[in-house]
């Protein structure tokens, strides 16, 4: 009954999440809207592009009802550019995640507003995030790997390989082998970064460490280990930390005594 899994999403669970990423399809057949729990699907009218969740796009693709437009970041030129930045420009860090899409707010000119942020107000509003913030559609920016990049790339290569190689509009036709090779290189480069981040953990004497730009699968693979190391460092340092806190409290106590003129 109870879920026998350790804390943190596993690979299959992450893959399940990634299937909710929106991708852009070009329908080959008409399809009337379907009343789904997540809302009505848009009507499919060839050759008009539509954004759909990946799981549905793959279903349509398997039935030859639609083609999938690969996201611009999956194009070989974009992947090569990202690899260049990951290795040459910022060899220490993961490349930047896609920027939060901003659009000018009509009611408040001059103030850019993030798309996907509900305007109910700060308290009741809900901020959308991966996989619900569009990052894998045809409109997504090139050169940025979204949180679910690896899952989406693998799924598209496996089930829509012909669409991936057909390339985006105006781009030269590439081979699936080329994209596959670039993805493999990228996985290697970033796995090495994940590994070297473990070395940084020794200095994890302070409480914060950022892995900005890391992907969901990369986290799933290293989560147990990395968190295990962080927890171990905390337990080994517990007595040192306790002593430091006591000393700090004493000092603060003295200072406040002085403040009060005692």
């Amino acid at each position: 009954m109870a879920l026998p899994l350790p804390p943190g999403l596993t690979h299959p669970e992450v893959a399940f999440l990634a299937e909710m990423e929106l991708v852009t399809v070009v329908p080959r057949q008409r399809l009337e809207p379907i009343d789904l729990l997540g809302g009505k699907t848009p009507p499919l009218r060839p050759p008009h592009r539509t954004d759909l969740p990946l799981w549905l796009a793959l279903l349509l693709k398997k039935q030859r009802r639609a083609n999938i437009l690969p996201p611009p970041w999956l194009h070989p030129a974009s992947l090569a550019d990202i690899i260049h930045r990951e290795t040459k420009v910022t060899p220490e860090a993961f490349s930047e995640p896609p920027p939060a899409p901003a659009r000018a707010d009509v009611s408040q000119p001059g103030r850019a507003r993030r798309q996907g942020v509900d305007q109910e107000g700060d308290d009741g509003g809900i901020i959308m995030s991966a996989p619900f913030r569009p990052a894998c559609t045809a409109d997504a920016p090139a050169g940025y790997l979204p949180y679910h990049w690896q899952e989406v790339a693998e799924a598209l290569l496996a089930h829509a390989g012909d669409d991936v190689t057909a390339g985006t509009a105006g781009a030269t036709v590439s081979s699936a082998g080329e994209v596959r090779g670039l993805i493999r290189d990228l996985v290697e480069v970033r796995a090495a970064k994940m590994r070297s981040s473990t070395a940084q953990l020794e200095g994890f004497g302070a409480g914060l460490m950022s892995l900005r730009g890391v992907g969901a699968m990369e986290l799933a693979e290293s989560r147990g280990f990395v968190l295990g190391v962080v927890d171990g460092v905390r337990r080994i340092g517990a007595s040192v930390e306790g002593a430091r806190r006591e000393a700090e409290e004493e000092r603060e106590g003295e200072e406040s005594d002085e403040d009060m003129g005692i």
Partner: protein, 221 residues
């Protein structure tokens, strides 16, 4: 006409994200959080699960209707509807099971104070209470009753160690910032405080991450 409708007329940007999409985001976020947090999180009081369970029920009824008149034209729509339905059911099931795993592991802890009990849904509370009673009776009849009276307790705290185990609230977690946020975190050698950016993915102690998650500035990943 309720307040939402009025607001929508006044401000066209209000609720640009439809309720269904917001519910799915919330459900997914609640599931990820429950799967990642070292302790049981409060049962959402927003009516989220009631809404989702209702729509799942309706959808099941619709599937039954549709299978009744098997028109090949609606066949594909049926496949899509069933696929999506299974995805929702998986999310809800996995969420509930992750919670039960935590309740089972630290039952006495979550039943120990009113604040902790308030985190459980009505059903979960009934389950935890009944399950604990069954377990206790079983222990009593199989071995506890042969112990000296003073050693029969399951909630002793003598000797500096409580028999009631609690989750490790300082366990490390990964969070993603949903907006630019000032983050403070305790460390071994020093405490850290920094302005962090939206989309930053951070490792820190759950006890330091919790206020950010509760304020909606961050989510567990």
């Amino acid at each position: 006409m309720d307040i939402d409708d009025i607001l929508r007329e006044v401000d066209p940007t209000f609720h640009t994200i439809p309720q269904e999409k917001r519910d799915l985001q919330e459900l997914t976020r609640a599931w990820t959080a429950e799967r990642s947090a070292p302790e049981l999180l409060p049962w959402p009081t927003s009516g989220l699960f009631e809404r989702i369970n209702d729509s799942i029920k309706h959808q099941i009824e619709k599937v039954e209707e549709m299978t009744g008149d098997m028109d090949p034209k609606t066949n594909f729509a049926l496949i899509v509807i069933q696929t999506e339905l299974e995805r929702y059911r998986y999310l809800v099931r996995s969420y509930l099971r992750a919670r039960i795993a935590k309740i089972d592991r630290h039952t006495l802890h979550y039943l120990s104070t009113d604040d902790l009990r308030a985190r459980l849904s009505e059903m979960e509370l009934a389950y935890a209470t009944r399950h604990q009673a069954l377990l206790h009776n079983h222990y009593l009849s199989s071995f506890l009753s042969s112990f000296p009276a003073g050693l029969q307790n399951l909630n002793d705290a003598a000797g500096g160690i409580s028999m009631i185990e609690t989750p490790d609230l300082d366990a490390a977690v990964f969070i993603r910032l949903l907006k630019d946020t000032f983050v403070t975190a305790r460390g071994v050698d020093e405490d850290d405080a920094a302005n962090m950016r939206e989309s930053d993915i951070i490792i820190l102690r759950w006890s330091d991450a919790k206020p950010l998650v509760e304020a909606g500035s961050a989510e567990l990943v």
